[in-house]
């Protein structure tokens, strides 16, 4: 319980501090960081806890984004409902697609996700152009009306809302990965799936459920993206951005709680700052990623956690001597 409170308190504290950075850094930048970190959270969970690398994340982002966008363009004006619709659409698609994709492992899973991303891009750009307007996209600024409690049409209101959603997502993943049996089973799937089946677990269901959770969170990020930018176009599902979520996860530390946040902060920061000086800002991100991977392979947060754990374990006295009566 104490650990839980510490963890939950830590999460809230980090986001509250980040929230008040708006005095130092532009709120638009911080909002983008938060949306990207939510997007990368699902990917980080898949890589770090299940060992599944997906290059199809833009597709899952796009379903959430288009779910919200189509609702706002054709059916309603409430941004809260739009976000919920985006998540629901994403959830349904993930449940269906996941049934097929999680049957695959390692490289096949990665590549088929990327193929799914290509299909999704084509779907929104060409096949459904009558409703999505392809590359021009859906412009929603005149469709959205102020919402009660927190007005999502104002940048201040959305900034607060994005942080509240992020806290919710982080607490959910904290509980899921650190406190639940499901989180432990996910780690075991990564470690040795077969052994988990010997214990009586249906590992297909575990992977499917994890896939649905991870990508519905990406869908949530997509819905937030649509509401924040008041538009959505087919480029959101572009396969050229497929590596972004993976890069952010790896940079911050896949499977760590704050890895996606640190990764997003660096990624968006480099994109915004470096792109002012050089057009190919991706070069720097690429080099940084290589350096971080060579230094620790666990990303910035992962390496830091490892270092702290090492320091802690050096202070712990060795376990008591084991007697013969212990058996074996």
């Amino acid at each position: 319980m104490k650990r839980y409170l510490t963890g939950a308190t830590g999460i809230i504290l980090v986001f509250v501090l980040l929230y008040f950075l708006k005095g130092v850094l532009p709120p638009a930048f911080l909002t983008e960081v938060v949306i990207y970190s939510i997007y990368a959270m699902g990917c980080s969970f898949l890589i770090g806890c299940l060992g599944l690398t997906s290059f199809g994340q833009p597709a899952f982002l796009a379903f959430g984004a288009y779910g919200a966008g189509i609702y706002l363009y054709y059916f309603g004006t409430n941004s809260y409902v739009a976000i919920l619709v985006g998540m629901l659409v994403s959830l349904l698609i993930n449940m269906l697609v996941g049934k097929f994709l999680v049957r695959l492992s390692s490289s096949y899973f990665t590549l088929c996700n990327q193929a799914f991303c290509v299909v999704t891009f084509f779907l929104f750009q060409k096949a459904l152009v009558k409703w999505t307007f392809g590359d021009n996209g859906l412009l929603l600024i005149s469709r959205m009306k102020p919402t009660p409690i927190i007005d999502l049409t104002s940048s201040k209101g959305f900034y607060l809302f994005a942080f509240l959603v992020a806290i919710g997502v982080w607490l959910f993943f904290y509980y899921l990965t650190k406190k639940s049996v499901f989180g432990a089973t996910c780690l075991c799937v990564k470690d040795n799936e077969l052994k988990l089946r010997f214990l009586g677990y249906n590992t297909f269901n575990i992977k499917w459920f994890a896939f649905v959770i991870a990508n519905t969170v990406a869908g949530l990020a997509g819905a937030l993206y649509t509401v924040y930018f008041c538009m959505v176009n087919a480029n959101i599902a572009s396969v050229s951005s497929a590596s972004e979520a993976v890069a952010i996860s790896m940079l911050g530390g896949a499977g760590t709680l704050f890895g996606p946040l640190v990764g997003s902060f660096l990624f968006i920061g480099l994109k915004d700052i470096v792109s002012q000086f050089i057009s190919h800002w991706e070069l720097l991100v690429g080099f940084l990623l290589i350096v971080v991977m060579l230094a620790g392979q666990k990303g910035i947060v992962g390496s830091l956690e490892e270092y702290l754990a090492k320091q802690k374990s050096e202070k712990i006295p060795p376990a008591p001597a084991l007697t013969k009566e212990g058996g074996l």
Partner: protein, 228 residues
């Protein structure tokens, strides 16, 4: 006494390569049975077929009166036929406690006292991560995990591999105690261990069962080695 496991005319293959030829064997409740044979004789393949990890090309495995057919391994494990493989792999990132919790959750059996009764050492290792356990400790944890849920049969593959002689001695006692609650089918090449543990032995050669040894003296004196 009715058999708890009956394997009838089992054939299995890896692709085009046939590995098991018409295997038939039985295990009675609380019996300790061993399969001995050289490397590549098909011992592990047989256990894998029984645990549902490999689909036989023909033949049946009947457990507790139910034909296992093509049931997935997790269902077979839930039915009470547990497989412990030879690689001594526990979940490295999880502590002993978490490893046991995982098994408890799958079987809905939270009575760890029976685990500690067999392996008191696990009690003081509860907070140690799987990665920091010795080979013997891992074996204890694997068996400990398997006995949660009160299985009726344990299939244990090469339990002594890589273990020190003193640990092997303890394992003999453990197997005798375990068989009070469930049947054990073990496979291995450590004949001195097998002789001290098994009540009945099947000798296996090139994918076939070539002999069944039930005579206590023959087992004790390792006379079955002539079949290998």
């Amino acid at each position: 006494m009715t058999n708890i496991v009956e394997v009838k005319n089992l054939n299995a293959a890896y692709g085009q390569s046939k590995v098991l030829f018409d295997i038939s064997l039985t295990i009675k409740p609380n019996e300790r049975v061993a399969i001995v044979g050289r490397n590549g004789a098909g011992k592990t393949t047989l256990l894998k077929c029984m645990a549902g990890l490999l689909t036989p090309t023909s033949g049946t495995v009947v457990y507790n009166g139910i034909e296992l057919g093509q049931k997935p391994p997790y269902e077979i494990a839930r039915m009470g036929l547990k497989y412990i493989d030879q690689d001594k792999h526990v979940f490295l990132d999880l502590t002993v406690r978490e490893n046991l919790q995982l098994s408890s959750y799958a079987t809905n059996d939270y009575d760890w006292d029976k685990v500690f009764a067999h392996f008191p050492k696990l009690k003081i290792l509860l907070e140690r991560k799987g990665a920091y356990l010795s080979g013997g400790e891992r074996q204890m944890l694997m068996i400990g995990r398997a006995i949660l849920g009160d299985p009726k049969v344990l299939l244990i593959d090469e339990p002594t591999e890589g273990l020190a002689p003193s640990i092997v001695d303890d394992l003999v006692t453990t197997f005798h105690e375990l068989s009070k609650d469930c049947a054990i089918l073990t496979v291995g090449q450590n004949l001195s261990f097998v002789s001290r543990v098994a009540e009945r032995i099947y000798a296996m050669k090139e994918g076939k069962l070539v002999a069944e040894i039930t005579d206590e003296v023959e087992i004790k004196d390792c006379r079955y080695s002539c079949y290998l």
